[in-house]
Symmetry: C2
Amino acid sequence: MELNPTSYVILGMLGMHPMCGYEIKAFVDKSTRFFWAASYGQIYPELRRLTEAGLIEGEADADSSRRRIEFSLTRAGRAELGRWLAAPSAVQEMRDENLLKLFFSDAGGPEAGRVALEAKAARHREEAAELRRIESAAGSHEDMRPGPAATLRFGIAFNDFIADWCEKEAKEER
Amino acid sequence: MELNPTSYVILGMLGMHPMCGYEIKAFVDKSTRFFWAASYGQIYPELRRLTEAGLIEGEADADSSRRRIEFSLTRAGRAELGRWLAAPSAVQEMRDENLLKLFFSDAGGPEAGRVALEAKAARHREEAAELRRIESAAGSHEDMRPGPAATLRFGIAFNDFIADWCEKEAKEER
DNA sequence: GGTTGCATGTAAAACGTTACATGATTTT
DNA sequence: AAAATCATGTAACGTTTTACATGCAACC
């Protein structure tokens, strides 16, 4: 079976600890979503595919009062995750409507460029703030594993940098 | 008709000067592709849709020895481009396999985090170099319009920053 | 005469989001 | 009793990529 990066989001999540589909989605939404999103429409079919491929296995959770299937990595799944981690990466892309507007801003009024820069700055300020809230909620970096902690530091630095750059540029645009 | 951001890539390009589909693709590939890509499979059908909507018009190019349809904005198309430039933006997203690997690196060997950071740094160094080549090829900023010039400066600063950050972090990871 | 580049276009597949359907349990 | 949350799942839709088909023109 051919795995795509979204499959690895699931393998990676289950590599942290066993979870059900709902929890994967919730976890993605407050972590990887900033650089790799996943929807229910991907997660549930993918859980089935990965099970069929023998990389994960699900067990009906008897402890829970709810209907709940907890998935965990098989030995083959853990090996596959390790292989992927060591392999070179293919995907790195960005889609940014504000950059598009900055690029085409000469077709707008004289303020168009500045407006696009300010809008972009505001977006990144908000995202940095959101990441800082996640950081505080995690009770500082002590209880966080090094990978997520480094990624979070990256996200904050990255968003701060862009917001600063765009604001500075917007000021010079006047 | 409902327009999506890709439609605006085409409107924006034709707002710079009239072009054929092939030229739009070539131009996208050395400019907006870094933050908004477009393939032939999108461009040609979209040129038809925008023509039907009366936002652009195509004319068989008599000057050329080849079969070639040159498209330009209609008045309605230019108005639509202006409206879009002034409107708030919806899309800002990123997919980055190296960040995913950094996030999940605790499931790998002790070098996994550093490897992901170094791979990411290398990618951004390359992209910065590519943008600098585009910058030189444009014969410095004088012949560039302010929008594309600002976007290019952004791309270089952005890629340099990330490469630096990741390299610094990779060193501390040891 | 062969290769590269210009130019238009489409079909199929892959990828992803949105919205909905369903129903149980927990909280207010 | 109502609302929120947990939990699984799918269908429809829209978007994007990939690969191919076609043919002429320019260059070597």
